[in-house]
């Protein structure tokens, strides 16, 4: 039986046109994807996937804020801690929103409770997207 060596032990995402820093620093798409939704995929020239991921995560985060969702600022109990961990998944979106004073401190209406969940889940989805960009970079996924 003959085996073709084409494509074996090669990273399909690596090519000569990749920027030098991207070839040297394997975690760049992961970190960029965490800081800015979709940026990890954009770095790897996955424009369509990156745009859809960015639109979904930005949309969810924005709708959460528009619903007057809460941005967790500290961790008084375990639920706050989990909420803060989810919010931090949004990367720069969370930091900039906190700096601008967006989001409410106390949830007072039902839609604000939905909004709080939207913001947390947007962060968790962003972490999944960033890990996906890392998998694309390492060749674990094509």
């Amino acid at each position: 039986m003959r085996y073709s060596q084409k494509g074996m032990a090669t990273d399909p995402n690596k090519n000569a046109a990749e920027p030098d820093i991207l070839q040297r620093f394997v975690y760049l798409p992961l970190i960029a994807g965490w800081l800015v939704p979709g940026a990890g995929h954009f770095l790897l020239r996955k424009w369509g996937r990156g745009a859809l991921l960015a639109a979904s995560i930005l949309g969810m985060f924005t709708l959460g804020l528009l619903m007057q969702g809460k941005l967790y600022g500290g961790a008084q109990d375990i639920l706050d801690m989990l909420g803060l961990a989810g919010d931090l998944g949004n990367g720069l979106l969370y930091l900039v929103s906190r700096a601008l004073g967006l989001g409410v401190d106390q949830v007072q209406v039902t839609t604000a409770d939905y909004g709080t969940r939207f913001i947390v889940v947007a962060g968790l989805l962003n972490v999944i997207a960033a890990v996906d960009a890392h998998n694309l970079r390492t060749g674990r996924k094509s």
Binding site: R49, L52, L53, A55, S56, I57, G59, M60, L63, L66, M67, Q68, V109, T110, T111, Y114, R117, F118, V121, A122, L125, I128, A129, V131, D132, K141, S142
Partner: protein, 59 residues
Amino acid sequence: MFRPSHFAAVVLFALFASVVFGITQRDTPRRMLRYGIYCFVLFVASAVVLSWVMFLIAR
């Protein structure tokens, strides 16, 4: 301020989450689309079924 109904919030949540799940959990565009639709239907259907269950329990 944006004030969606509970069902509208469920549909929006399902839409955004399904897009991310579809793209990140499958390899080819066709399989991404199919998995995204599958997740969306499961999200919405399970919310509807659980709502009816809670409605019947509360009666």
